[in-house]
């Protein structure tokens, strides 16, 4: 855009230059026409050049006032606004970061609490399991002891019963032999025969 503007100004300038050069020449060539010509080209009028001098002074004063006082005031307001906005954004960003870290902490705490609770639950279950196991073992041991004792009692009762069975068998055999044969057989023969028969029967 700047390039096209520069080229267009060159084109306009090439047209304007002869005109600008011609204007003073025309004015000078026709001094009589000055009164009816453009007042802007009436350089005999001291006011025409006077406005240039005044214009220079006024422009300089305006430039100094603008550059030293008025424009810095505007800039100060714009800068302070930019800073205010930046500060506010910083504060907002800071607050957001704090909130984020608080949320993170909360999640962390929640995770930790969950892990602790899970560990406690696991421990309680494990304890209960161990206790149950121990109780079962104790119970089994006691039952085993009782069974053992009962078996011992049964065995002793059996052996006691078996011990008296021999005596009864001996007596019975003696009585049977006496009643059948009418003779008395010596006790040691009866005992030996019964013993033999019992052994043959696996008793």
């Amino acid at each position: 855009m700047a390039r096209s503007a520069a080229s267009s100004i060159r084109r306009v300038a090439s047209l304007a230059t002869p005109l600008a050069l011609a204007l003073p020449v025309m004015v000078m060539a026709a001094p009589g026409a000055r009164a009816v010509g453009m007042p802007q080209l009436d350089f005999a009028n001291p006011l025409v050049i006077g406005q240039v001098v005044w214009g220079a002074v006024i422009f300089l004063v305006l430039y100094l006032l603008l550059s030293r006082s008025a424009l810095p005031k505007v800039e100060a307001v714009l800068t302070s606004r930019r800073q205010t906005i930046d500060n506010d954004l910083d504060i907002a960003r800071h607050a957001k970061a704090e909130a984020d870290s608080a949320v993170d902490e909360l999640h962390q705490a929640r995770r930790t609490a969950m892990a602790e609770a899970q560990a406690n639950v696991d421990k309680v279950i494990e304890d209960a399991r161990l206790a149950a196991l121990r109780q079962t073992q104790e119970m089994n041991a006691r039952l085993a002891t009782e069974i053992h004792e009962a078996e011992a009692r049964v065995a002793s009762a059996r052996s006691a019963a078996l011990g008296s069975l021999r005596q009864i068998a001996d007596d019975t055999a003696q009585v049977l032999v006496r009643q059948i044969t009418g003779t008395s057989v010596p006790a040691d023969v009866v005992a030996r025969t019964v013993d033999h028969a019992a052994t043959a029967r696996g008793l």
Binding site: V12, A13, Q40, Q51, W54, L62, Y63, A70, A76
Partner: protein, 249 residues
């Protein structure tokens, strides 16, 4: 003013001393007076507009800030980072010309930008500034610009005078453009206003017909508002372009 059947369209550009004998002695005409009014208006606009110094600006402050940003962006975008140094100058130039153009549209006022002496002075100021900046920034390399890069050396006798002429015609075109635009606008306003007065002298039909030039003048006033802003903008942007070329290495 319309005097009889002739139209004096150029009389409005005549300079008259103000403040009587003192004005005559100081060469103080209505033109410098309007320059002062324009300067005071620009300064008042900024000072009063920026007085609230509000973070959230009101209308006038927003307008002042928009003006500041507009010229600041123009200067920095066109000239480059060095444009910050020239920003107050471009700002002064733009608003001095804009206020001058717009003040000239008020009744009983005077457009100092319609005087070629003023526009030439402004253009020469820009031209001299750009030459000084060029010499300061580029030194003797500045003169190398008069020979376009890549052009055959044999064409130098032709190209160099053309480039020099085109360079020297910058202040001429810059000043004539503003001057001619303002003069043309004010002459047209004066002509159509005179038509109204002349038609009004024709009796009842003339009274009815005289409405036409008034309507045209309303449209012309709108056009002049556009031209006034446009010419101030063109003057300022061309100043920025010249300064860009001056600071470019």
């Amino acid at each position: 003013m319309a005097a009889g059947s002739t139209i004096d369209a150029l009389g409005q550009f005549e300079l008259h001393p103000v403040l009587g004998g003192l004005g005559e002695a100081l060469r103080f005409s209505q033109s410098p007076l309007m320059m002062i009014v324009a300067s005071v208006a620009v300064l008042a606009f900024l000072y009063i507009g920026m007085r609230p110094r509000a973070v959230v600006p009101g209308r006038l402050q927003a307008a002042a800030e928009i003006c500041y940003d507009f010229i600041h962006n123009m200067a920095v975008d066109t000239i480059g980072p060095e444009g910050r140094a020239f920003f107050p100058f471009v700002f002064t130039l733009f608003f001095f010309i804009l206020a001058g153009n717009y003040l000239g549209l008020l009744p009983f006022s005077f457009a100092f930008t319609s005087h070629v002496a003023v526009t030439v002075a402004l253009a020469l100021m820009v031209f001299v500034l750009s030459v000084i900046v060029s010499l300061k920034a580029q030194g003797a390399k500045f003169f190398a610009h008069f020979m376009p890069a890549g052009a055959p050396v044999a064409l130098a006798p032709l190209l160099v005078p053309i480039e020099i002429l085109s360079f020297l015609s910058r202040p001429v075109s810059l000043s004539i453009r503003l001057f001619a635009n303002m003069v043309a606008g004010h002459v047209m306003l004066e002509m159509f206003a005179a038509f109204t007065i002349m038609l009004a002298g024709l009796g009842l039909i003339g009274d009815a017909l005289a409405v036409g030039p008034v309507v045209i003048n309303v449209a012309l006033m709108a056009l002049e508002l556009l031209v006034g802003a446009l010419q101030a903008y063109v003057f300022a942007i061309l100043t920025c372009i010249y300064l860009r070329e001056a600071v470019a290495h």
